[in-house]
């Protein structure tokens, strides 16, 4: 399954805000210090905005997670592609987090921890109901197939 569209909206909104702030700051500084014509350098951030807009969309589309019979599969990334498989029996802890911005957009992240610190299994920006369902489901499966270190 992919991620809800609200995550993309949130990320793009953040991108727009930051790029606008940077563009205005650059334009004002360059305009005051060098000359009014130099204020146009702020437009560089516009190009970054377009590029970032496209990158975010591409990255968002690449996210997939699948609850398979015995393990959870997370697949992500386009240029740097990564797939993670965590057997349910190895999960030590399932964590649901939601920051202030995420809450505003009704989003929550699910993070899986195993005994290995290198395990990097985080699913960002799920709908809270889905995040809780996933947490409960994973916990249940983890208990059923529990194994230690």
């Amino acid at each position: 399954m992919g991620l809800p569209g609200r995550l993309l909206t949130l990320r793009r909104l953040l991108l727009v805000i930051w790029m606008t702030v940077l563009a205005v700051a650059t334009a004002v500084l360059a305009g005051l210090l060098i000359g009014p014509a130099w204020a146009a350098t702020g437009l560089v951030w516009g190009a970054v905005l377009v590029w970032g807009w496209w990158l975010l969309g591409r990255n968002w589309r690449s996210w997939r997670y699948a609850e398979r019979a015995d393990d959870l599969l997370i697949s992500r990334g386009v240029l740097w592609h990564e797939q993670t498989v965590v057997p349910y029996g190895r999960m030590q802890l399932v964590e649901v987090t939601s920051g202030p911005l995420e809450r505003r957009f009704a989003l929550a992240s699910v993070q899986l921890h195993t005994a290995a610190a290198a395990t990097d299994a985080k699913i960002p920006g799920l709908a809270p109901a889905e995040a809780e369902r996933l947490r409960d489901r994973l916990t249940e499966l983890g208990e059923a197939r529990s194994a230690g270190l």
Partner: protein
């Protein structure tokens, strides 16, 4: 907490030794029962009250050394001023202050000894410490990874030993310092027996399980092997050359020395330091795991419990290969000691590895190299070192050309599997497969053909799940 046993909390302990009677000889060593009605160290009968035991009476001496040493150090540094000051104030006052410091230090040492105690219950080892801030460490026996007895040089001269406890999930080792040598051995045997699942009453009786010698590394071979390490020579020549160049260029001897000293330190740690630590390395097999004894000045005694080894690494430096020597390192969750065999002939080393990874035949592993077409342009020269072998029991990956390292993970210890592919790798049709283990380690099979990597990802997840079912339990005695 069982609670209610009298004298469990230090300050109001009713009986117990009132005076430590100075630094008692080592022969009088023994855990001194604190609570009344205790039947000595062997009181592990079910139903008997939990016995709080104290450390060796030598301990306060060591503790007191800290403030005394610090005081002397300060005096030595400020010798001139102290002399002047002493002349002004008169020798009487000086002596008085010295005596006061001594008394305070001894009192501190004595009290901190008096307030430290430990107890073994059915499920845990409790250590209470702290003079002002009380701290009680509860160590669950089934979380115990290993118990090591170490004897630093000074402690060896006085016949005492330190007990270090490896527990899953703790950063630093808890330790009991110091115990009488005999007591330390017995306590270690008892803890391991209980961790292995023996009944408490039985555990104290089982005692030190008998061992069978597997391997002993002769000092000569250790010295030769260390002399044959390229890294040390590289550090030495690099350091010397760098220092010479800096000296010539800047005409500043100090700058050259500043460059040379860290290099010399590194070279010493990798050669002389290792020789001292790994001298007379013996591996013994016993029911509670493999026992390692080593050290020239500081003797260390470690145990590797079977079934808790997360991964094994075989290191073959370039200059050892003609003699077919290898070094074996391992990763145990929560443990820092990582050497299993510092140097040994391949056959001997593999025989030891077969004890920690039962049923694994290392000689039968057939390593498949990375594909020449894909790998050559991703990692130009070193791609030839990469190799992968998967057997029904283990996942083994090899890397390195000068110093070849082979990392072996039993499928049962795999926590998660990852596949990564960067843009450059995708263009060449290869991918990396990472296998994460519980000891914060990751074994990576680099540059596998992409279809093979995807198949491996799926197969490895299945194997790590089924491997678990056939592996040994953590409580290997039950």
């Amino acid at each position: 907490m069982t609670g209610g046993e009298p004298g469990a909390v230090g300050p109001v302990g009713p009986v117990g030794p009132v005076e430590p009677a100075g630094p008692a000889g080592p022969e009088s060593a023994g855990p001194e029962p604190v609570g009344p009605g205790s039947a000595g160290p062997g009181a592990a009968d079910p139903g008997a009250p939990v016995v709080e035991r104290r450390l060796h009476p030598f301990t306060p001496l060591r503790r007191a050394w800290v403030p005394i040493g610090a005081g002397i150090g300060v005096l030595g540094q400020q010798a001139d001023r102290a002399q002047e000051w002493a002349r002004d104030a008169g020798t009487g006052l000086g002596t008085l202050i010295l005596v006061a410091v001594l008394v305070a230090a001894s009192l501190y040492g004595f009290l901190s000894w008096r307030f430290t105690s430990y107890a073994v219950t059915d499920t845990e080892l409790r250590i209470r410490t702290g003079l002002i801030f009380r701290r009680t460490a509860h160590i669950r026996l089934d979380r115990l990874q290993a118990v090591d007895v170490t004897r630093p040089l000074l402690a060896r001269l006085t016949g005492v030993a330190k007990l270090k406890l490896d527990v899953i999930g703790t950063e630093e080792k808890d330790e009991l310092a110091f115990l009488g040598e005999r007591v330390a051995q017995d306590l270690r045997a008892e803890l391991l027996a209980r961790a292995a699942g023996f009944a408490p009453a039985e555990a104290a009786r089982v005692g030190e399980a008998p061992g069978r010698a597997l391997l002993r590394v002769p000092g000569g071979r250790l010295a030769t092997s260390l002399l044959l390490s390229l890294g040390v020579w590289a550090a030495l020549t690099g350091g010397l050359a760098g220092a010479l160049i800096v000296w010539r260029a800047s005409d500043n001897l100090i700058a050259g020395l500043a460059l040379l000293l860290p290099m010399l330190g590194g070279a010493w740690a990798a050669s002389g330091g290792r020789f001292l630590a790994e001298y007379d390395w013996t591996v013994e097999e016993s029911p509670d795991g493999l026992r390692l004894d080593h050290g020239l000045l500081d003797r260390a005694h470690e145990t590797v419990p079977p079934g808790r080894v997360q991964s094994v690494r075989i290191v073959e430096p370039l200059l050892w290969r003609r003699r077919d020597w290898v070094r074996v390192e391992l990763a145990v969750a929560g443990s820092k000691n990582d050497v299993l065999v510092p140097v040994a002939a391949r056959q001997e080393a593999y025989a030891v590895v077969a004890r920690v990874l039962p049923g694994v035949d290392l000689t039968a592993l057939a390593f498949a190299p990375s594909p020449r077409r894909g790998a050559r342009w991703v990692v130009p020269v070193w791609w030839k070192g990469y190799g992968l072998a998967v057997s029904p029991q283990v996942f083994a990956a090899r890397k390195g050309r000068l110093c070849r390292r082979t990392e072996i993970v039993p499928h049962a210890k795999v926590q998660s599997v990852r596949l990564t592919q960067g843009p450059w790798e995708r263009a060449r049709g290869v991918a990396d497969v990472h296998v994460d283990t519980g000891a914060d380690g990751t074994v990576t099979a680099r540059l596998r053909p992409a279809p093979q990597a995807h198949a491996l990802l799926a197969a490895q997840a299945t194997r790590s799940r089924t491997g678990r079912a056939t592996s040994r339990p953590d409580r290997w005695m039950t």
